[in-house]
């Protein structure tokens, strides 16, 4: 068995010239990578929305209504989906804050609620798909292609963001992501913010304006 003994004086003398400079802080790698991935996601959905707007404008310019006869986009599921995601913004930020304070219990609770809101959003959008009467199996229209592609791609983004959050939740359970450097939680939260922001644009441009 090895033993080490150290003596600490009552008062430390101030030798400022001997103080090591604070280590330089690099940008946080996971946060930077996530920001770049989020930028790629924004570009992706920007292109999808541009295609939607271009084809819709062409269609409407011909004097026709955009949505085919018999097709309506009910407001309630989309609005509830938006409200659910806005609520999740609070919980995901709560998780980051709790992580910084090393308050694990609240971090777990906040992350679990975020996941719950995310799943609820997916359920609401799937319900919307069953309600709007837009077939994707026969007599497929350009409207069906665009709506299912844009909203389906966003559902995939929500799923990916949820996987990211669950992964960070598991790492938090392992004790890795608390303290001042809650980089993983911050990165997952950043991607979630971008996911919600993109849905806000989709919600307004497609589900409200139609």
């Amino acid at each position: 068995m090895a033993a080490a003994t150290a003596t600490t004086p009552e008062r430390l003398p101030l030798h400022l010239d001997a103080v090591e400079p604070a280590p330089l802080r690099r940008p946080r790698v996971l946060l930077v990578g996530t920001a770049l991935a989020a930028a790629g996601s924004i570009t992706f959905f920007g292109a999808l929305l541009a295609a939607y707007v271009a084809l819709r404008a062409e269609h409407v310019a011909g004097g026709e209504a955009w949505l085919p006869d018999g097709v309506t986009i009910p407001l309630s599921p989309g609005n509830m989906g938006m409200i659910t995601l806005v609520m999740s913004l609070v919980t995901v930020q709560w998780a980051v804050h709790a992580g910084k304070l090393r308050d694990r219990a609240h971090a777990y609770l906040a992350l679990a609620l975020t996941v719950l809101f995310g799943v609820a959003h997916v359920v609401q959008l799937v319900y919307l798909f069953t309600e709007w009467g837009l077939p994707l199996t026969d007599e497929v229209t350009v409207q069906a292609v665009l709506l299912y592609t844009v909203l389906g791609a966003h559902l995939a983004m929500v799923a990916a963001a949820l996987v990211f959050i669950v992964l960070m939740l598991l790492r938090s359970l392992g004790g890795q992501l608390t303290g001042p450097d809650v980089e993983g939680l911050s990165a997952a939260a950043l991607y979630w913010y971008v996911t919600v922001a993109i849905f806000a644009v989709i919600w307004y441009a497609i589900l409200i304006v139609k």
Binding site: M1, A3, T43, L48, A54, V140, T141, A144, L146
Partner: protein
């Protein structure tokens, strides 16, 4: 106050085997399970060369078919011509050029910024394996009568799905490289002091992040439309529409995306070969950044329209922004060329093979940009003629020559050995000759109204056919040069290990890892060996 710390006793009863480190992987497991950035970089490089052979063969078939201007059917039927042409273009850009850049960058950028590895090494490995598998499926889809202009609906959809996966892999690889350049630089190395190749890699990745997801989004729309809207789709106008949704990516201005790394490579090689410093480092970075801005071209794609005629037109041609981008892109190129020429003038040049490749690349890139400016002038009516394909080939082959320059320069890091200098210099000269021979006749025949895809209504058939033969010879020469260069690469990879720094390099990747240089001066991070002779600045 006295504090006594006592080391905890080792847990008794622990099996000895549990304390042993895991056995290092051997054989194929080293490659398949690697997260080591140098190995991943090599995998990108060698796989890219394998896909280049596919692109080269397809390109040769297209060139042979083009000789006879009366129509199709000499070698390729009309329905196969479009598929072969698009295979040549897609494999050449997305399966060869961009992956080759990623291979070099994954290997070199971490070393240039003093990082032990690339950011997210497992993601970088995942990007490579996705690219390998999806690239194979993409080529297989062409064999199954898929791809753009394909007549088998399911094979067309297989192509689109594989292409989306390739784009996702390239985007992920670009994110790893960009994150390394942003977040893993050694303390003291601000971004303004990063080596030019690192900077150009960051610019390339940034422009790729603005371009590749747009292409992926369009492909997703194409997939859903083709899958559920029938072979004709609801707005695609059949598999021809698939080609229209992709082709903008290798047309002006997006085509310059593939050439951005060339500027950084040449910018790093010239000061080493000239044995002096590049004095205007920040200006050179500005030139590369400006070139990147002009390489963003998603806005100039054909209209997304349910009207097949409108969808086939590049509506940006003739518009002010298109003119501006086409001409302004020349400025950063000329600026950087001037800086490098000044460096060569001030220095004592050693004629390295990498320098010759680099100069050839820069010359061809300048020529391609000038060609692009010509094509953008609407009254000349050069759009969709062989003058436009000449411009694309100039730029893409400049990118090939530049990436070969990078491989020749960083061979000790990327391949483990050095390329034989004499054959490398000869191949650089032949590569330049082949590029000119391939592109210049096409530029001239474009003025004679030769269309680039389906023959044409030219008035001077004999002249155009002679030019097409010259272009074919140039194409064959380029393919032979590429194959011979691959031989040199393999020789270097399998040969003796090279010295750590055979060229007297200036940047961190050449430094001895046991003694990294202090980074305290305002100058770019250079090894100090050449500093005393070229500057009067006090060095640490």
């Amino acid at each position: 106050m006295t504090v006594t710390e006592t080391e905890a006793p080792a847990a008794s009863g622990t099996p000895a085997a549990a304390l042993e480190p895991p056995r290092p992987a051997t054989g194929l497991a080293v490659v398949l399970g690697t997260g080591e950035h140098r190995t991943i970089g090599r995998l990108w490089v060698f796989t890219a060369f394998a896909y280049l052979l596919v692109a080269g063969v397809a390109g040769a078939l297209v060139s042979v078919e083009k000789i006879d201007t009366s129509g199709l059917g000499d070698v390729l039927d009309a329905d196969v011509f479009g598929q072969t042409y698009s295979l040549h273009a897609i494999a050449g850009t997305f399966l060869f050029l961009f992956p080759l850049f990623l291979g070099i960058a994954t290997n070199v950028v971490p070393a240039q910024v003093g990082a032990p590895t690339v950011a997210f090494p497992r993601a970088a490995a995942a990007a490579y394996w996705t690219y390998l598998a999806a690239g194979g499926v993409l080529i297989a889809s062409f064999l199954a009568d898929g791809g753009p202009f394909g007549s088998d609906g399911e094979a067309v959809e297989l192509f689109v799905a594989a292409f989306i996966a390739v784009l996702a892999a390239l985007t992920l690889g670009a994110i790893c490289v960009a994150t390394t350049a942003i977040a893993l630089r050694v303390p003291g190395m601000g971004l303004h002091r990063a080596p030019l190749f690192t900077w150009s890699s960051l610019v390339t990745a940034a422009v790729a992040l603005l371009t590749l997801p747009v292409l992926a989004a369009l492909m997703l729309l194409v997939y859903v439309d083709h899958r559920y809207g029938g072979d004709g789709g609801t707005f695609l106008a059949g598999s021809d529409g698939v080609y229209q949704r992709i082709a903008w990516a290798w047309m002006q201005p997006s085509v310059y995306l593939f050439a951005i790394p060339v500027l950084g490579i040449v910018g790093d090689i010239v000061p080493v070969a000239a044995r002096t410093r590049l004095t205007k480092h920040r200006l050179a970075m500005g030139c590369i950044g400006a070139f990147g801005v002009f390489a963003f071209g998603a806005w100039a794609m054909p209209a997304i329209s349910a009207d097949a005629g409108a969808a086939a037109e590049v509506s940006a041609v003739g518009e002010v922004p298109f003119y501006a981008f086409s001409f302004l892109v020349l400025l950063p190129l000329l600026g950087l060329a001037g800086l490098l020429a000044d460096t060569i003038r001030r220095g004592s040049v050693q004629l390295l093979g990498s320098l010759l490749w680099g100069i050839a690349a820069l010359l061809m890139l300048l020529t391609g940009a000038a060609n692009g400016a010509l094509v953008s002038i609407e009254p000349l009516d050069l759009t969709a003629t062989t003058a436009q394909s000449a411009q694309i080939h100039y730029v893409l082959l400049a990118a090939v020559l530049g990436l070969f320059a990078g491989l020749a320069h960083w061979a000790p890091r990327v391949l483990g050995g050095v390329l034989s200098e004499v054959p490398s210099k000869g191949l650089a000269a032949l590569g330049l000759l082949g590029t000119i021979l391939l592109c210049l006749p096409d530029l001239i025949s474009g003025f004679l109204d030769q269309m680039w895809r389906l023959g044409g209504a030219t008035d001077d058939v004999d002249a155009v056919e002679a030019l097409n033969i010259a272009s074919l010879v140039g194409g064959v020469l380029v393919v032979l040069v590429a194959v011979a260069f691959l031989g040199l690469v393999l020789q270097a990879a399998l040969g003796d290990e090279a010295d750590r720094d055979p060229w007297g390099g200036h940047t961190l990747e050449w430094a001895d890892p046991a003694a990294p240089p202090a980074v305290t001066s305002e100058a770019p991070v250079y090894d100090d060996r050449h500093a005393a002779a070229t500057t009067t600045e006090a060095q640490p």
